[in-house]
């Protein structure tokens, strides 16, 4: 009896909840697999999908967003072996799962910790509350491929932002596998959009895009490129998160900074009276 022939996987982009190939038809080889080489047009399509998803996701209840992020952790737990097979160390997969759980719990707590009533000197009700900034472009760290990716996506989306993520060019397979997890976690299409390929090709388009509200440069290791991207981002005053230090410890407590930098504070006043 002959040995069974394996069914190989096609690694594709993740845009608007679907898995398209690049409109450019290009790919590059990583770990013996063809991976999509996303184009500038793919990046723009991803922004359109992310923008379309903002209203529903930002308008969802915090309880609902928290449950969906927790669902991501459940799905990732179930596919633990798949990520290990792709070369992700078991401890990193576990940390990535735990990170989804950690951020899931923040959805309905951050507005309490980061907002609140302000005791103004007058007869006014005055309340500050955080809101998502909108569409966020994210450059994932080159490594650790899975934990780093989760650590930049989860804090952006838990508060109601939608993201276009440029995955690590050297290790895109865990990123595409994570997209498959997200696609089966009740996360609405377009909340997370994932591009594989060259940072230098897609990210300048995202940095200059007038319908992107913020850019997270965490994974940009070339200081000159980071400065160029920041200059482009100034055109519509995107909120900018600068590159992470090379020795950043992704296993440490992440703190709230990655969430708060992508939030706007809205303060509402109303007089008190009879």
């Amino acid at each position: 009896m002959s040995e069974r022939v394996a069914v190989r996987k096609t690694y594709k982009l993740f845009i608007g909840g679907k898995f398209p190939r690049s409109e450019s038809g290009r790919s590059y080889i990583v770990q013996d697999s063809n991976v999509v080489l996303a184009s500038r047009k793919d990046a723009r399509d991803a922004v359109v999908a992310a923008r379309a998803a903002v209203k529903g996701w930002a308008g969802a209840t915090a309880y609902n967003r928290g449950q969906i992020l927790y669902r991501v952790a459940e799905m990732l737990e179930g596919r633990r072996e798949q990520f290990i097979a792709l070369g992700v160390p078991a401890a990193e997969v576990d940390a990535a799962i735990d990170r989804w759980v950690w951020y899931a719990g923040w959805s309905d707590k951050l507005p309490q910790v980061y907002g609140g009533a302000n005791p103004v000197a007058g007869p006014y009700f005055n309340l500050s509350a955080p809101e998502p900034t909108g569409v966020v472009a994210v450059v994932a760290p080159e490594a650790p491929a899975l934990l780093g990716l989760v650590s930049v996506i989860a804090p952006a989306i838990v508060t109601g932002n939608t993201v276009v993520v440029a995955a690590s060019p050297a290790q895109p397979l865990p990123a595409v596998a994570l997209a498959e997890v997200l696609a089966t976690s009740d996360l609405p299409g377009g909340v997370v959009n994932l591009l594989t390929g060259r940072i230098t090709e897609t990210v300048p388009t995202l940095a200059a895009h007038m319908d992107v509200n913020a850019i997270d440069l965490t994974g940009v290791s070339d200081a000159e490129l980071a400065a160029e991207l920041e200059v482009k981002a100034a055109e519509n005053l995107k909120r900018v998160l600068r590159p992470a230090a090379a020795d950043h410890d992704w296993f440490a407590d992440p703190g709230v900074g990655r969430m708060t930098v992508l939030l706007e504070t809205k303060t509402v006043w109303h007089p008190k009276g009879v």
Binding site: Y114, G122, N213, E224, A233, A234, L237, T265, T267, V268
Partner: protein
């Protein structure tokens, strides 16, 4: 309209020197490589004083003085003692409030009743508020031991000269930073009086440095490599240039920029209160307010009634001598600003909107612009899209709440918005949907040191005021 007798505030309480140096390292010094310029009273065009213009060597000296003070004195000082200096400054501002108010009105052109009742009291309140944070930073919600950034470069505008100084300096010092501040070139005098107050408070030398000058001085300051933090309030155009200038550096940036706020009036709003709010929204401080309610969105069914009442109210506004206690609208801050207001107003008429101003006698000397409204404005008109920064209101109408949201958000800005309605659920529904950092419901242009202020989108980023305002000056 009955006549008022003039009720001018005396300017004898202020001792304006013929010339001012730069305030560097605790002393007033002559510029090394700068020049000088004149600050005038915009209500009379009279020269008030000659002021030093800092060159790049002067800016460098100020930054070095601030660095030295940060490392040797202010950084190591316990928060408890920093607090006491800030409380001292707050008290001195209260004690010298009359002097500050008169000088502000002279240099800026704003009515004395605003500088006396709004600006200066808020300045003192701001220092009081942040003084109390200086020894409580560990409990501010930014982790166990948040650290200051170092030297802060701060560039402020001319519309609220002393208040913007307070918004910048109070949180910076409370968090443990030292500052180099550049006031606007048309309104440097109250900042220089504030420097005297720092001396009077025995604030250690170099903690606060004031470098006067124009845009070039500001650019040199924000581009100085010895600066760790840049805070700017002003135009969106300059804000973007600063964002580009600090790209790739370690400098933390906060920006408070332009606005084109919608003030939305529904058919169930009490008309008289709404009209007071509209007037306050656009004519407060001559409309030189980044959060001014410069686009009135009024529900079609009540538009005629609201406009009739608004025009009647506008005819009562008293335009003239800023030092007169009866004055509602003072002088436009500068000839250049007056020119910009005129140019945009002419564009409004040329593009087909209908212009109206009450009969209004304007003084012969100085810079003046009568309160003006435009009706029949569409969203495509320049006066509906560009910040005029003057006493000019563009009136648009809407039919449904959804249309009001759509029109209100149809701008690259997102600083503030107003809502006038008697229906509570509608206020909350609308407040959720407006992309603006401050939403005033059944009120407008209210400010408080505990209340975070700042914009969405191209109105900038970061917040000033409240606990949020500390974040801009800490390494968090």
């Amino acid at each position: 309209m009955f006549e008022y007798a003039p009720a001018p505030e005396s300017r004898s309480v202020v001792d304006i020197k013929p010339s001012y140096g730069l305030f560097v390292d605790g002393r007033f010094v002559d510029p090394v490589d700068g020049g000088s310029f004149k600050s005038i009273n915009p209500a009379s065009e009279e020269v008030l004083a000659e002021v030093a213009e800092a060159g790049s060597e002067d800016v460098d000296r100020a930054v070095r003085a601030a660095r030295k003070a940060y490392e040797k004195v202010w950084g190591p000082m316990p928060g408890r003692d920093r607090a006491k200096y800030l409380f001292r400054i707050a008290r001195l501002i209260q004690e010298r409030s009359r002097e500050l108010a008169v000088l502000e009105s002279l240099d800026n052109g704003k009515p004395i009743k605003e500088s006396r009742d709004v600006d200066v009291p808020l300045v003192a309140a701001h220092f009081f508020y942040y003084a109390g944070w200086a020894d409580k930073l560990n409990h501010a919600g930014f982790g166990p031991a948040p650290q200051p950034l170092g030297v802060a470069a701060q560039v402020i505008p001319w519309n609220f000269p002393l208040l913007m100084l307070a918004w910048k300096i109070a949180p910076a010092l409370a968090a443990g930073n030292t500052v180099v501040l550049k006031p606007a070139e048309t309104t440097p005098l109250t900042a220089l009086l504030f420097a005297e107050i720092c001396q009077q408070a025995d604030l250690p030398a170099g903690v606060v440095n004031i470098v006067t000058g124009a845009g070039g001085t500001g650019r040199t300051l924000v581009e100085h490599p010895g600066v760790d933090k840049v805070a700017f309030t002003g135009s969106t155009e300059v804000g973007k240039a600063i964002a580009r200038a600090v790209a790739g550096t370690r400098k933390k940036l906060t920006l408070e920029l332009g606005g084109k706020a919608a003030n939305i009036v529904f058919d169930d709003a009490p008309v008289d209160q709404a009209v007071e709010g509209i007037v306050n929204g656009i004519f407060f401080n001559q409309g030189h307010v980044c959060c001014a309610g410069s686009r009135l969105l009024v529900q079609e069914s009540v538009a005629d009634r609201v406009l009739e009442s608004l025009k009647r109210r506008m005819a009562q506004l008293r335009v003239g001598d800023p030092l007169d206690k009866n004055t509602d609208i003072g002088a436009i801050n500068s000839a250049a600003q007056l020119e910009r207001i005129r140019e945009l107003s002419e564009a409004g008429a040329a593009e087909g909107a209908e212009r109206w101003s009450p009969a209004c006698e304007l003084p012969e000397r100085g810079f003046w612009f009568a309160p003006t409204i435009f009706t029949g404005v569409t969203q495509a008109h320049r006066i509906a899209r560009e910040e005029i920064f003057g006493p000019v209101l563009s009136v648009l109408t809407f039919r449904t709440p959804a249309e009001a949201v759509e029109k209100a958000n149809n701008t690259p800005y997102g600083l503030s918005a107003g809502i006038w309605t008697d229906k509570g659920s509608r206020i909350l529904w609308l407040a959720d949907r407006l992309r603006a950092g401050v939403v005033w419901a059944n009120t407008f242009n209210k400010f408080d040191p505990t209340s975070p202020f700042g914009g969405y989108k191209e109105s900038g980023y970061g917040r000033e005021g409240g606990r949020h305002g500390l974040e801009a000056y800490l390494n968090v």
